[in-house]
């Protein structure tokens, strides 16, 4: 059904990207690559992963198939292999996957896909603000906020000039990360108004651990609207959508 080999470290970072949102997911194996879309139990965060066949050293699918994976179990097992090793996968039927990393051989049972929460449809959205920044900067903004409060505002100020901000206000303290044009790969806003939305740090924390490895992270920001976070690791592309917190009394 499916055979593929890929660097263990590349597979690990893809699984880590999914784990930021869900513990189990459906993997669609198609002739052109692997795609995963999943939304968390609270319907607050969504992740989509595209792993094209070019990300693999060898890849073949003779018949499209969807498999279910327990991601926590899978990552534990991938950690057993040398990150620089090549992970060879072989799927003969949709209930069992064979994995070989160096001299380690696993045969793991898969989840019945129908027992996993349904895949979301990826919505088409256009957002007024867009920023491209270093993954490590995004991570820093979130790390700095963690001890201060539970919620983080992400936005772009427009006056007097365009500045990207990440800000957390706790009961008593406040922290702000500001990056202007010179600190960013790019920044743009449609219209003259500032854009800002507030998010739960609990979610952003998990997501930023994954994006910290990326050179560039693209954020699309609206006013009190879900944030769209996308980045590439090697040939894989990952995208998150995270619903905001709205404090309207």
């Amino acid at each position: 059904m499916f055979k593929g080999s890929i660097r263990t470290s590349a597979l690990r970072s893809s699984i880590d990207a999914l784990l930021a949102v869900v513990d189990e997911a459906r993997f669609n194996l198609t002739p052109t690559g692997v795609s995963v879309r999943a939304v968390d139990a609270a319907n607050v965060a969504m992740v989509s992963l595209e792993l094209p066949d070019s990300a693999f050293d060898a890849y073949s699918v003779d018949k499209e198939v969807t498999i279910g994976l327990d991601l926590s179990k899978f990552i534990d097992l991938l950690k057993m292999g040398n990150p620089d090793s090549i992970c060879e996968m072989d799927l003969q039927d949709s209930s069992r996957l064979k994995i070989k990393m160096g001299s380690l051989k696993y045969s793991i049972s898969l989840l019945e896909p129908s027992t996993i929460k349904r895949e979301p449809k990826i919505p088409e959205i256009e957002l007024p603000g867009e920023v491209i920044l270093r993954g490590s900067d995004f991570r820093q903004g979130i790390k700095a906020s963690e001890p201060i409060g539970d919620y983080l505002v992400v936005g772009i100020e427009t006056k007097p000039k365009e500045i990207f901000i990440m800000e957390t206000e706790g009961d008593v303290d406040r922290v702000t990360l500001e990056l202007d044009k010179d600190d960013l790969f790019s920044i743009s806003v449609v219209g003259e108004d500032a854009v800002r939305s507030m998010f739960s740090i609990e979610y952003l924390k998990e997501i930023s651990k994954v994006t910290s490895a990326a050179d560039e992270v693209k954020l699309k920001i609206g006013k009190d609207f879900p944030i769209d976070i996308s980045f590439a690791v090697g040939d894989a592309s990952v995208r998150y959508l995270l619903a905001p917190r709205i404090e309207a009394d």
Binding site: A42, A45, R118, P120, K121, P123, I125, S200, P226, A243
Partner: protein
């Protein structure tokens, strides 16, 4: 105000003087010679002082009571007053023998241990006779987690004068040494054995593979937590409740407001100790919580957190529904003696047996709840983080049509 100056006139502002109440409880205690004979409810106690060498033994009443079995069954104390509970419990004499916690692993080593275990297995009162090294001293032990206990003495000799009746399920699980303690607790609970008996079995080292004595106070929270974790796993697969529900109940001067929201499981407990209540001269407000992914650290609220959570989980499991639960607990100064965490467990269970008020707006539910809380809302409102999450966190499906089947708030 110093107690030495006041001498029970009530100058501190408490409705009852804890010192005088304690003396009053002493008066009702029967005097004890160097042996007693009575029906143990059944009840056992494992201390924690000196761990890993701990005191273990049965609790035997110094009085005869036709309904002695309820002396160790807090689920049946709904109608009692604080004084009644203390009166009842103070008549239970704690006998103990110091043993290493690993003693259950060495069979045939201690007759006192095996008899205490036999007693813990029983589902009906057991005729027990204890001879003490010296007559037990008058005493009354209180503790935040434990149920109060009366005088205590060191065991010289112990005898059980009848064959205790043991439920089949209990006999079966306790004789299985290949099942780990968590699974054993789980099996017993599913078999309809009360949490109080499971706690007893766990504490005397009758569950699990490598068996150990577990101090009673630890076995209480361990049992609440083990059962709770399993119920959470089940509840995560249930559909959400439909409305916001508010339950309210006062038990032993502890007032509870419980709000259930139609959202995936999470739990928050707010404890408000009013000024002059136990432990808190100036009052104290603390909250703790867990999200959908659960918690790994022991709660700063202690055993009460797990007891309260269990009450909610049992309710949701019985309805086969999922919800986020917020509990407000206000402890009044009239709660003058700590009775143990069973107060919390039973209060939450009882509250949820009532008929809820129904709301559509979380703020209205909180408003109704706080109208029955004496402490001003401004003092505790900021502690409610899960509540804020429920109110303010939007879902992706409120912006997009995701084609998902699960309902959302």
């Amino acid at each position: 105000m110093r107690c030495t100056v006041c001498k029970g006139k009530g100058l501190c502002g408490r409705p009852n003087c804890p010192i005088l109440e304690r003396l009053r409880a002493f008066e009702t205690m029967p005097s004890i010679k160097d042996s007693i004979f009575g029906n143990s409810p059944p009840s056992v106690f494992v201390g924690r002082m000196g761990y890993p060498k701990v005191g273990i033994g049965p609790l035997v009443p110094a009085i005869t009571d036709a309904e002695i079995s309820r002396f160790d069954n807090p689920a049946s104390w709904g109608e009692l007053k604080i004084e009644d509970v203390i009166g009842m419990r103070s008549s239970l004499v704690r006998s103990s023998k110091s043993l290493n916690v690993k003693a259950p692993q060495f069979i045939g080593n201690s007759r006192i241990l095996s008899m205490t275990q036999e007693l813990a297995l029983a589902d009906k009162p057991v005729e027990t006779e204890v001879w003490f090294l010296k007559p037990p001293k008058m005493d009354l032990k209180f503790d935040g987690i434990l149920t109060p206990m009366g005088p205590s003495g060191t065991i010289d000799k112990l005898a059980i004068t009848e064959n205790p009746s043991v439920e089949r399920k209990v006999e079966y699980i306790t004789s299985d040494t290949d099942i780990n303690a968590k699974l054993a607790v789980d099996e017993l609970y599913r078999g309809g054995i009360s949490v109080y008996q499971i706690m007893r079995l766990l504490s005397v080292g009758l569950l699990g593979e490598r068996r150990k004595l577990v101090p009673t106070r630890w076995s209480i929270t361990a049992t609440d937590d083990i059962i709770g974790k399993r119920l959470i796993d089940l509840i995560k697969d249930y559909p959400l409740i439909n409305d916001i529900e508010l339950y309210s109940f006062t038990h032993f001067e502890n007032h509870f407001e419980i709000i259930l929201f139609p959202a995936i499981f999470s739990f928050e407990l707010l404890e408000i100790w009013r000024p002059l209540s136990l432990w808190a001269e100036k009052g104290s407000i603390e909250a703790d919580r867990e999200g959908y992914k659960g918690r790994s650290r022991y709660s700063k609220l202690g055993g009460g957190y797990y007891a309260a959570r269990l009450g909610v989980l049992e309710h949701l499991d019985a309805r086969r529904r999922q919800a986020t639960a917020i509990i407000l607990r206000e402890i009044h100064p009239s709660y003058w003696a700590p009775l143990g965490v069973w107060v919390v467990r039973e209060a939450v269970r009882e509250a949820l047996r009532g008929k809820p008020e129904i709301f559509t707006d979380p703020l209205d539910a909180l408003g109704a709840a706080s109208s029955r809380i004496k402490t001003p809302r401004v003092l505790w409102r900021n502690e409610l983080k899960i509540f804020d999450g429920v109110r303010h966190q939007r879902t992706l499906s409120s912006f997009f049509f995701l084609l998902l089947s699960s309902p959302t708030l």
